[in-house]
Amino acid sequence: MVLHDSAMSTGSNSGSSSSSSSKPRLPPQQQDIDGLLPGAGYKVRSSELRKVAQQLERLETATVNSLADSSQLSSDATHSYYNPSDITSWVDSLLSEFAQPPTCPSEFIMDPVTNKTAIKNAWTSNEHHMPQVHQNISYEQQSLNHQLTVVTAMEEDSGIMLVHMLMTCAECVQRGDLSLATSLIDDMQGLLTRVNTVCGIGKVAGHFIDALSRRIFQGIGGVFINGGSGYENEILYHHFYEACPYLKFAHFTANQAILEALDGHDCVHVVDFNLMHGLQWPALIQALALRPGGPPVLRLTGIGPPSPDGRDSLREIGFRLAELARSVNVHFAFRGVAASRLEDFKPWMLQVNPKEAVAVNSIMQLHRLLGSDSTGNSTIETFLSWIRSLNPKIMTVVEQEANHNQPGFLDRFTEALHYYSTMFDSLEACTVQTEKALAEIYIQREITNVVSCEGSARVERHEPLAKWRARLSGAGLRPLHLGSSAFKQASMLLTLFSAEGYSVEENEGCLTLGWHSHPLIAASAWHALPDAAGDVPGV
C-alpha cells in the first residue's frame, strides 16, 4: 500500500522555522554574511552572492570547454594543464589571510602584523644603500580628495583642452621654462574643477598634473616615491592584483611556461625577483602536485625589499607557501632574500645545485635595472649575464609594454599619458570601489615616478617588447615560444576574471594583454642554450 504525499511548492525563502536550529547568531559587524552558508562551511557576503554565482557559471563554461579541448590535445604529452579554476580558491585563501582592506581609501596605513615564527632558511642582505623613505601620505590624501570631487557636467572641450595643456606644460618643463610651466599647472588645476575627475580623462589628467607639480616644485633629485612603507606597498599591490587582470595574466602565463619547461625534471629551483605576497606560487605548487608522474622537489627563492618595521614578511610568506606545499605533498624549501635593489642580489646567493633545473621569474622588475650605475657601466647587461650563467631552463619575463625610458622628457610624458589613460580606462570595469581606488594609487605611483623622477630615483623605466628581445638575445638567451595552450588559457582567464574589453594577443611567440587591442603588458619566455664548455652555474 503506497501513500502518496506530493508537496508542490516552489523553492521560496522561508521565514524563521519552528526549530531552534535556524540562523546562527552573528556579531553585528558580520550581519551582511549569508546566514546559512557558514553552516555548510562557507562564508559569503549576501551582497556578493550574485557575483559568486556568475563566476561559478563562467568557471563551469570554461572547464567544460577546456575538458572538451584537452581530450583532443591529449596526444600532446608534454603539455600539462593546470586548471584556471584552481586559482580562485588558492588565491582567495592566501589573500584572505593577508588582506586587511581598509574601510576607506585614505586610511591605508595599517599597523604592521606581528612577526610569526618560522624557522626557515632566510638569508638577509645588509644593504648599505638605504632608500630614502618619504612619507608622502598627506600629499596622496590630498590628491585623493581631489579625485573624489564629483562634478556632474562633463565638459568634453575641457577634457581636450586639458590634454593640450598637459603637453604644453611638459614641453615647458623640458625646455626649462619653469615659470610658464607653473602657471599652466594653476590653469590646469582650475580646469580640473570643471571636468569629471571621477573617470576618464579628468582622472588620469589629475595624476599627471600632480606628477608635473611634484617635478617642478620638489625637484627631481632623490625623491624616491616608491619608498613608502613595505606594508603599504603590499596593500596597494594586492589591490592592483584584484582590481584588474594584468598581474593575474602575468602569473598565469609565466606559471604555464614554467610548468612546461620543468616537465621531466625532478629537482627544480624557482627564483622570483619580487615575491610580494607570493601570489603567483600557490597555483604552480598545486599544478606541480598534480603533475603526471608526481611532483618534483621544489625550491623557491623569493627576493623582496627588507621589511623596515621588524617584520619578516619574506619568511611569513615562505612559511605559508610551505604549509600549502605540505598539504599537497610537494617537497618544498624556501629561501627569502631581502634586497632593496635588485642589482644588489648576486648569483652566488642562490646556491644553485648543479642537479637543479632553474626557472627565473621576473614580473615587472628588469626595467628597474636600466638606469646605469654610478660608474656608467650597464647594470642590466651584468645582471642578464649572470642570469645566463645560471643556465636557466626558463626565464619568464613580464614587462609593461610601453616606452617610458626615452631620454627626452616630452616623449616620455606623451607616451605615459597614452599608456596610463588606457590603463585607467580598463580599471573602470572594476566594480569594487576599495580595490579600484587603491589600484589607482598603485598606478599613480608609477606615473609619478615616470614623470617626476630622474637618475637612480627613476625606476619605472619601461621599455617595449622589441627592446627586451634585443637585450635578452644579446645576453645569450634564446626565446621560447609561449604556445597556443598559454594563449588559450590566458583567454580563459580573461573570461573568468574580467570585463569585456581586455584582449590577449600573440606577438611572435610572446603574449600581450591589453585594453581594446592596445597592449599594456607583455609576457615572454627565454632559456639559456647549454654551453658546450659547460658554465659553472651560480658563481
Binding site: 500500500m1 503506497v2 501513500l3 502518496h4 504525499d5 506530493s6 508537496a7 508542490m8 511548492s9 516552489t10 523553492g11 521560496s12 525563502n13 522561508s14 522555522s17 526549530s19 531552534s20 536550529s21 535556524s22 546562527p24 549569508d34 546559512l36 552558508l37 553552516g39 555548510a40 562551511g41 562557507y42 559569503v44 549576501s46 552572492l49 550574485r50 559568486v52 554565482a53 561559478l56 557559471e57 568557471l59 563551469e60 563554461t61 572547464t63 567544460v64 572538451a68 581530450s71 586548471n83 579554476s85 584552481d86 580558491s89 602536485a289 598534480l290 598539504s327 599537497v328 605533498n329
Partner: protein, 344 residues
Amino acid sequence: MAGSNEVNLNESKRVVPLNTWVLISNFKLAYNLQRRPDGTFNRDLSEFLDRKVSANINPVDGVFSFDHVDGATGLLNRVYQPSSQNEAQWGIVDLEKPLSTTEIVPVIVFFHGGSFTHSSANSAIYDTFCRRLVSICKAVVVSVNYRRSPEHGYPCAYDDGWAALKWVKSRTWLQSGKDSKVYVYLAGDSSGGNIAHHVAVRAAEADVEVLGNILLHPMFGGQMRTESEKRLDGKYFVTLQDRDWYWRAYLPEGEDRDHPACNPFGPRGRSLEGLKFPKSLVVVAGLDLIQDWQLAYVTGLDKSGQKVKLLFLEKATIGFYFLPNNDHFYCLMEEIKNFVNSNC
C-alpha cells in the same frame, strides 16, 4: 559527450534560492575537478577542499556531538544528542545511563551522501544537517563515516553500515523506553540511502530489529536509460556522465548497473517478500534525474508487501535539505519527525 556539454544554468537558478544554487554549484564544480576520466579520484584534493568541522561536546543550539572510533576497524561514528535539560550535565557524556527510562528516544543511524565517493561524517554540510535532525526530531543521530570508493568499493560501505548498526544496537547508553532497548532507524541521502536499504536487508535477514528506513533521494540506477534520466540530464546540477562514473567507481570491476547493489529490484534483484523489512519513507525530488529508479524502488518494496510511504517533492532538486530556506526542507523534517515518533 552528447548533450552534456550544454550548460543549462538558468533553469536550476530559477527553482532554488541563490545561496543554495551557489552551494550546490560549488560542489558540482569541485567534484568535477576531483573525478578523473580514467576512473581514478583525486582524494587529496577532495579532502583539501572539503570543509570539515570537529565534534563539540558542549551544546550548540541544544545539540552536542562526540566521535567514537572502533579500535579494531578504525570505523568512526559521530554521535549527536540533544543536550540535557540540566545545565550541570553539559560537556559530560554519561555512557552508563540509558537515554531515558520512561520515554522512547529514537536513534537514527545516518549515512551521508556523496555518491559513495565524497564527503565524510565530519563534513560541515552533514554535521549541520545531523544537528538539525536532532533538534527537530528530538532524536539521537549516529553518523557513520563509511569507507568510500574508488579506494573501497562494494561491499565496504554496506559492511561498515552493518558494523555501525550492530554497534549502535549494543550500546546500553543508547537504550530508552520502559523496555530498555535501542529504537533504531536507518537514514541516508543519495548513496547513504542506498546503504540504508542494503543494511536494512542484512538486518532483516539476521533478525536485527530496525524500526524504519528513511531514504532521501536514494542513489539507485540500472543499465537502461529511463525517461527521467534522459529528460533531466545536466539540467539540475547532475549529469548521467557523473552518475555513471560513480557507479563504475563503486561496483566491482566489469559489473554493470544492473548489479543488485545498484538495482535491487532489477533483473538481478530479489523480492523482499516475507522478509521482516522495516517500514520505509522514500523522499523523491522531482528534479532529480534518477527519480524513475527511486520510484521503481518504491514499487518494488510495495510489490514485496513491504510498507512504504513516498514523499514526492515536485519542484525540489538534489540537496534541497542542506539549507533550511525552502518549503521542501520543512515538509521533509515534519515527515521525518512523524516517522520516527510514531512508535509503531
